[in-house]
């Protein structure tokens, strides 16, 4: 296994307005590492949607970003309620977010589909009542 550059973030679940801070930081860090802008954009959008999800559904969580020579891996972990039906959650337009989230511009059932759209691989491991781990990979080749 090649050596990775590692970034770790705690996503605060208390405050919706601060959601996205980790994604902003990841964007800055990747820019500094000289990653191509179009790759950075895909990663920041996927990470941002993931962050928003953790704040909306799971009262926050943790994000780890690993930068390898040929790929970038994002691992988002929360101890939220878990996803009962992953297949359903992946459908565009399906959402369990409360109404007040929609008035904030999210909760349209686009988060997970967007995360899949912008990454080369996405794996969801979720246990109801325990939490969810989402692993996303973007290839650099």
């Amino acid at each position: 296994m090649d050596e990775a550059v590692r970034f770790h973030f705690v996503v605060d679940g208390e405050d919706f307005t601060s959601a996205g801070q980790a994604s902003v930081q990841v964007k800055k860090n990747l820019r500094r590492l000289g990653i191509p802008p179009e790759v950075i954009r895909k990663i920041s959008i996927a990470m941002y949607e993931g962050e928003i999800n953790m704040v909306i559904h799971a009262d926050g969580g943790e994000a780890e970003v690993l930068v390898y020579e040929d790929r970038i891996v994002m691992i988002l972990t929360d101890r939220g309620p878990g996803i009962a039906d992953v297949e359903k959650a992946m459908q565009e337009g399906y959402s369990t977010a409360p109404d007040n989230v929609r008035s904030l511009g999210f909760g349209a059932g686009m988060g997970l589909p967007n995360m899949k759209r912008y990454t080369d691989d996405m794996k969801i491991e979720s246990v109801v009542g325990e939490g969810t781990t989402i692993t996303m990979t973007v290839l650099l080749a």
């Binding site: 307005t17 902003v24 954009r41 949607e49």
Partner: protein, 121 residues
């Protein structure tokens, strides 16, 4: 189109980013739903929205946009202006409604492909 032209067309007030008004932009999108904006990456440089919270600025930042236009006189908070300044975003504010604001910019040629422009003219 220059951002300053957008400002003129929409009769908009510059909230921040005055130093970038000469920047050129070629496309725009209008939405109050940030997830929809995030779903369709096509190098849109301008976001028109009636939604007013910090996530609007963050969405624009994630998409590498250059300018956010708040329609219907929505007024960004100090926190939002701070975030916008951090990411070198121009923030404009207009009294026009979303439909009219988008329509005016589209008619003026913002985001119109060359073939569409022929049809419009």
């Amino acid at each position: 189109m220059k951002i300053s032209t957008i400002q003129e067309i929409l009769d908009a007030e510059v909230v921040c980013g005055e130093e970038f008004l000469d920047d050129e932009v070629h496309s725009a999108c209008g939405s109050d739903m940030m997830s929809d904006v995030l779903a369709y990456v096509k190098d849109q440089a301008v976001l028109l929205t009636g939604l007013c919270n910090p996530q609007v600025i963050r969405t624009a930042e994630m998409m590498d946009m250059r300018c956010v236009v708040f329609v219907r006189s929505k007024c960004p908070t100090d926190e939002m202006i701070r975030l916008a300044k951090e990411s070198d975003l121009v923030v404009l504010k207009t009294t026009k409604r979303m439909y009219e604001a988008c329509g005016k910019l589209y008619l003026a040629g913002l985001g119109v492909s060359p073939t569409e422009a022929k049809a419009v003219n």
